[in-house]
Symmetry: C2
Subunit: 195 residues, 2 copies
DNA sequence: ACGCCTATCTTGGCATTGACAAGATACTTG
DNA sequence: CAAGTATCTTGTCAATGCCAAGATAGGCGT
């Protein structure tokens, strides 16, 4: 399956291009993320990506999907590192903010409405968005009283997601200092959601 | 001061360009916001903007500053439409979310870290960012018990800003439904901040 | 009033980019 | 082994951001 690096047919170009794009995103920022630069970095011609991704947005969507997977994985890991439902919710929230701060360009890509639009269904990003929604709802549900109605769970989850996302954005863009995240989230979370 | 529309020297190009950019942003979205398109719309040559704004980012920063002014004005108006400190805080928050939903491209421009970076001081956007911070702190302070320490005011303001901003972003990008804003914010605000 | 001066605007040009078209190459399947 | 197809390349085009140089006009001192 894996073939010579110098063969005409790359053999794994789609993946290689995604990784080149990710590397460029990390090293040079999103402004350097041109299709041609990605192709150059992967060592192929400027038009090679089109066969695999259709257009620029196609590649970006794949990269965003990869980022979404990583974000979800980070939250799952963080959540599963404790047992108390409330601590699990807090841990996942911190993981979210940390991910945004440590991968700002990727985080921005994930929430770029031109790339990941939850309303127009996309086979690559769509399922991941749903998986994140579900993870959030589950984690919140576990922290609420058992008899809580599903509607209330969803409302609470939405409010919480908003708070966590907002802090993540404002901290990662340096509008807020990172030191406010912990006290801020704790004050918001210790409210009335959790027993 | 105002001169003929057809004269060689426009007389008010900077403002005209800002307005053309805003119009393009509203009508065509941020992807259509090229310097040349703005110049075309203003009826001048493709290089006329450079004298006034230096480069593309310069123009965008001016547009973002205009947006920041509008956002602040909307919040002030909303806040001053009621008298109870808590209702004033709620009203300003809703105005923030509404502004984001009704002016998504402009809102994105305002919080684009390439355009409005709070860390590298900018004479046009910097003071406005501070004014918004101050407005937020004041409005929060009025809603907290009088003896609240300034540090706590700032922390609370940061947490609240995060929650409001996150809801604004997620709603305006359609990740969340607008119907969650009111119950979400109210549940977050009725917590422990307000007497 | 006259002429220079400078801010303002235009034309021309260059490198880069996203996208399309057509050709070259190599894997694969019958 | 030959035909077919997926993959990759070269060539090209319009659009864009920006730089350089020229054109125009309003303001200034004399």
């Amino acid at each position: 399956m894996s073939r010579s690096n110098v063969s005409y047919h790359h053999g794994n170009l789609a993946v290689a291009l995604e990784e080149a794009a990710l590397a460029l995103l990390v090293e040079e920022g999103s402004s350097a993320l041109s299709l041609r630069a990605v192709a150059r970095r992967a060592g192929v011609s400027h038009n090679a990506p089109y066969h695999h991704f259709g257009d620029r947005q196609g590649l970006l969507k794949s990269v965003a999907a990869r980022g979404l997977r990583d974000l979800l994985a980070a939250m799952v890991t963080a959540r599963d590192s404790t047992s108390s439902p409330k601590q699990r919710l807090l841990a996942a929230s911190f993981a979210y903010v940390d991910f945004a701060s440590e991968n700002r360009p990727l985080f921005e890509l994930i929430f770029d409405p031109e790339i990941c639009n939850p309303k127009e269904p996309n086979p690559v990003t769509g399922p991941l968005i749903e998986a994140n929604d579900e993870f959030l709802a589950e984690t919140v549900r576990a922290a609420l009283p058992q008899e809580t109605a599903e509607t209330d769970v969803r409302t609470t989850a939405a409010a919480l997601w908003g708070a966590v996302h907002g802090l993540a954005v404002l901290v990662s863009t340096q509008h807020l200092d990172a030191s406010v995240v912990r006290p801020g989230l704790e004050s918001l979370l210790e409210l009335r959601f959790l027993e």
